[in-house]
Every structure is written in C-alpha cells, then in structure tokens.
Amino acid sequence: MTTLDPQVLQGILELLEEAQGDWEYEGEIGPETRFVADLGLESLEIVVLSTMVQQRYGRLPFPQFFEEIGQRPEDERDLSVAELTAFVCEHRQPSGQPSGVEA
C-alpha cells in the first residue's frame, strides 16, 4: 500500500485541471480518473504529461514505469491519477516528512 502525499495529489490534479479546458472531458478529475479510459489520452500524450510532472517534482524513472505498464494485459494498460501520484511519491527526491493518506 502506497502513501499518497496530498500535496503531490493536489499538484497533479492542478496540472490536469489546467489542461482540461482543452480536452473533451467534462467530468470531475479525481484520484480514480484514468488517463486513457476516462480522459482519452494517447500514450504519447501521457509521456509528454510526464515531462510536466518532472518539471514540478524532478527527474523520475518514467521510462521504466511506462515499460511496466506496457507489459500489462491490454485491458489494464492504463494509469489512474492515484497511481501516478503514488509513483511520484515513491520516486521523487525526499524533501521532508510529508503527512499522507493511504491509497
């Protein structure tokens, strides 16, 4: 079970909400929102989005993460906001002791 730093979750949600105005998705974006099934993003769009995440949280092992997702069964090749947040929390450079919630 991964601990989600609420500040990271909030940061990723803000990033998505900033871009959401140009997407054909009018629902609310939350931790369970999936990038492919819900937001309709292509894999390269997720890769580009990861660049913005790294802009905010520093260099992260996204190539390994994406390869791992690519190896899942086809109907599971997706990424939720919570999963992305957990990945960032697990791999970003430590910066103090965040108070977290469990996903």
Binding site: E42, V48, T51, P63
Partner: protein, 536 residues
C-alpha cells in the same frame, strides 16, 4: 533594431524548391532568392528533426547539445529510452542567449522547446507536442488565452501526433489528399499566430518553423519531384500533383506575407534542418543483427511483432519496446528506434551485471561495422550501407555516451526498420522521400549579398549568424561561425562578429565511469562472453 526573422522549412531541399520557383508555384520565394545569398546547408549526423533543429538553434553538434533522436537513452548504460524534450537540451539556444541579453524572442513550432524556457518573449512549441497539452507548453502564461481569441487558432490542426506517425510509417492512399489539405491549413494556422505576435508583441529575433514540407516529401515524393512524377498520370495522380503544388503555393504566400510584415530593413534567414531525396530501400537492422548472432528476441516477440505488417514498415510506433522485446541474457547490439539510424551496444555483459569490457566493446563495434559494409541489396547486388560512423566520430562531446555506438548511412538514403522480418533488405515498390544531408539556406537583408550563391554552409553556422544579426556575440564553444561569404564587401569590417566566453554545459546526466574489475571478475566476464560467442 530591425528584426531578424528565421523561417524554418523542415526538410526543404533545393531539388524541390527550385523547380517550384521556376514554374511560378513559389513566386515570393523566387523573388527573395534573387535578393539574397543562398547555399546548401549541411546537416548533422543523424539528419533528423530533433537533433538537427537543435543543432541549428544551438550552433552545436548532438554530442555537444545532447539531443540524438525522438526517444533516446535516458542515461549512459541504460537500455531505457525517454522522450526527448527541452529538459535534455544541455546547452543554450538562440532563444535563451538572446533573451538573457535583453532581446525579445518569438519561437513558433520548433521541436524541443517543450517545456518552454522562461524567455523574454513568446514560445509556442512544436514537434511531437500533443495539441491537448499546448496550453501547458505555451509561454508566457496568458498567451494561450490571447491566441484563443484568433479566429484561426485551432491547436488540433496545428499539432496532430497522428500526422507525425503517418509521415514515417505510411498513410493509406485514400487519405493522402486530406493529409496534404490538412497541412495547407496547418501552416496557415501557425502563420496567423505569427502575424498576431509580430503585430502585437514584436521581437528582435522571430522564428517560425513550417513542417509540412517534410511531411509531404515523405509521403508524396512521387508527386513533388519532377523526376519521379508519372509520365501519364491518372486522374488521382494529377489531383495529387496539383494538391502538392497548392501546398507549396500556399506556403509561398505565407512566406511573402511574413517577409513583408518584417519590413524592408529586416534580416530574413531561411533554413532547413536537413534535405530530402528519394529512397526505396528498407534495412531490417534488428533482423540483420539477429542473423549475425548479436541480437536475440525474447520468447514470442519475434512472431508477435511481425503479424499483419508489411515488410517495409519501419516500426515507428514500436519505438522503445526493445526493453521487453529482446533477450538481454544474450543480446549485445540492438536498434531501439528507426529514426536515428543507430545501433546501440549494451553496456553490461549479457546475463550479468558486469560492465562490457572496453576491448570487447571496441572489437564488437569494429566487427559489426565491417559486416554492415558488406551487406548487399538483393535487387542489384550493390552495397546497401554507404557509411558507418562510430560514436566517437559522430558524437564527440559531453553527451557522446548517450548516442548510438554506430550510425548508418544507407546508399539510397533509405530507412531502417526495427521490426523483426523474414527479409533483411526490403524494397518499396515506389519511391518515398527521406532525409538527406543537404538542406537549404537563404539569407537576405542589409549588408547581405543579393543574387549570390556561396559554398556549402554547416547547419551550426546559422545560430552564430542569427545572434550576430541581433547584435550579440556567439559563445566560444559554438561549433559554427558567422558565414562571412554571404556579406557584401566591407560589411563585417563595420560590424565584426564577436565571441563570448562559453557557459558550462547543463549536463542532465554524467557519463558512466569505466568500471574497474578485479582479475577474478574479469575472467568471469570473459568466460561469459566466450560462452555467448562474442570473444574467442
């Protein structure tokens, strides 16, 4: 200060532009050609959009700026590849250099400008930038909202990832007309953004890149190059020939409007990142490596990847899948992308965590290069590969370790496929366009010779020239220099080019240090390589 304007034409070549100028399809460019100095502009290895445009705007080669491909090694020694962005550009660009020294800049549709650097001016990134994230990539904050007020601002048409893939992997013939028409609209959208910025937020250094030239030449070469047009075209072929002419005519009108808006005192520089030419050969490099015992597919990958694919597919959509497609307990060499024309050697001894000894690496590099030069084309028994460059030859510099160990130049300018194939060398039934070294350069403005043609220039000369024209020195470590031959006599005495101290490279990763093995470890490594057949 009169503005300096760079008009980038992705993949433009005089073999295409000159006939269109002579035929009256590009009257504005023809008139500008008569007013300026032109030259062939030699690209870099590899002559490919991300590294070549980065060389043009940094004045440096890939080993010095750190960009080699669309996807490239994340760090030396890794088999993982990451998407190349501005975060990997390890040196200053014309945008950052000019901005830091008090010049406003405009940069539209250039690759590797995302995430945008915080310059004084405007950046709207291009390249493989998804339209749905253009808001995040547009600088400064608030510009995207201002652009949304323009009637023709349609990000979906300005940046379409599917077009990038179609241009390289192919496009069904019944979609070709729409492909061209979309590019006509696409260039108009970008030009409208430029027109708005030039009028409302002008800059000393303005640059726009039109990438439809590259895309059309990839897929429509047989309708563009007079030497390849059908002698007796069908109705559809005639329609395609006219449609391509319409694209170049429309682009020419945009060029005319931009130059007019820049004003009579402006300096205007046209440049392409690489040239173009016809090709039919496709080299299945990973299958060749497999047949020669350097590469092994993981269980099931060889068969699965091949199903339903033509033997001329290059595998653009399969880039970076080598991580799970290959058997790393035995593989020593592989191609990860079809675009870089490069082969990488592994950094670890297969099946172990030990580094590949330097002498084994050197031996394998020389051996593979020698064998590549012997590959023949089945249809005429001619040599398939004209040149093989080692990493040291191609990419000397602080980022050398990120580049491929071997870079290939196919004799007919052909492409590499990374897909498994029963055929090592395939041949397309019709010529497609592909990249060449020889791009275009044309400059006009005060003090620049009119109606002149000078000897070949290097792509790394463009950045020093642009900086000079906005009154700035070029850093000492720029590989290029201001091309003196384009100026009228006495011009450079009045305004001599200057150099400035180089700034330290912004390394994003450090090279792998040569690991020291004790004798026992070394013996184990050599035994492992011997068992795999890589050393005797």
């Amino acid at each position: 200060m009169a503005p300096t304007v760079l008009i980038g034409l992705d993949g433009a070549t005089f073999t295409v532009l000159d006939p269109y100028m002579r035929a009256g399809v590009m009257p504005n460019l023809a008139a500008l050609d008569a007013r300026g100095t032109r030259a062939v502009l030699r690209s870099i290895m590899p002559p490919l959009t991300p590294p070549a445009w980065t060389s043009l705007v940094t004045g440096k080669h890939p080993g010095q700026h750190g960009i080699f491909d669309f996807f490239q090694k994340e760090e030396p020694g890794s088999v993982y590849f990451s998407f190349a962005t501005s975060q990997q550009v390890g040196t200053s660009t014309i945008w950052t250099l000019a901005s830091e020294q008090g010049r406003r800049v405009i940069s539209l549709n250039f690759p590797l400008t995302f995430p945008p650097p915080p310059v004084e001016g405007a950046i709207v990134p291009g390249g493989m930038m998804p339209w749905r994230q253009l808001r995040l990539g547009t600088h400064p904050p608030g510009l995207f909202e201002r652009l949304q007020e323009l009637p023709g601002f349609k990000p979906r048409e300005m940046l379409d990832m599917e077009l990038e893939i179609k241009a390289i992997d192919g496009c069904p013939e019944d979609e070709l007309a729409e492909f061209v028409e979309l590019h006509i609209r696409r260039e108009q959208r970008w030009a409208e953004v430029l027109g708005y910025l030039m009028e409302n937020e002008p800059a000393e250094l303005t640059a726009i890149m039109f990438d439809g030239v590259d895309k059309l030449q990839h897929l429509c070469w047989r309708f563009i190059d007079p030497a390849f047009r059908p002698a007796q075209p069908s109705d559809w072929e005639r329609q395609m020939i006219e449609l391509c002419e319409r694209y170049f005519n429309s682009l020419d009108a945009l060029i005319g409007a931009i130059v007019e808006a820049a004003g009579e005192d402006a300096t205007v520089v046209f440049a392409s990142d690489h040239g173009f030419g016809p090709t039919q050969d496709v080299f299945h490099v990973n299958s060749w490596l497999e047949r020669n015992g350097y590469l092994f597919w993981a269980d099931g990958q060889r068969r699965d990847e091949r199903e339903g694919r033509a033997d001329t597919d290059v595998g653009f959509a399969e880039m970076t899948r080598h991580v799970h497609a290959l058997d790393w307990s035995r593989t020593v060499a592989y191609a990860a992308t079809p675009s870089s024309q490069g082969i990488h050697l592994v950094d670890r001894t297969p099946g172990s965590e030990e580094p590949l000894p330097a002498e084994v690496r050197a031996k394998l590099t020389a051996e593979i290069a020698a064998k590549l030069r012997e590959v023949r084309r089945p249809h005429d028994d001619a040599q398939l590969i004209e040149e093989v460059w080692t990493r040291e030859q191609a990419f000397s510099g602080p980022f050398e370790a990120l580049g491929p160990d071997l870079s290939l130049v196919l004799a007919d300018g052909g492409t590499m496929s990374i897909l498994p194939s029963e055929t090592v060398v395939a041949r397309r039934p019709e010529a497609r366009g592909h990249h060449r070294w020889e791009g275009v350069f044309l400059a006009l403005g005060p003090g620049i010779r009119a109606g002149a043609q000078v000897q070949e220039l290097s792509i790394v000369d463009v950045a020093p020239l642009l900086l000079h024209r906005v009154g700035l020195p070029a850093p000492e470590d720029m590989a290029g220099s201001v091309p003196e031959a384009i100026f009228e006599p006495g011009e450079l005495e009045r305004d001599p080019p200057r150099r400035a101290p180089a700034s330290a490279p912004t390394l994003t990763s450090s090279p792998v240090a040569e690991a020291e093995l004790d004798p026992e470890e070394q013996a184990a490594v050599m035994e492992r390589l011997r068992a795999l057949g890589y050393v005797e």
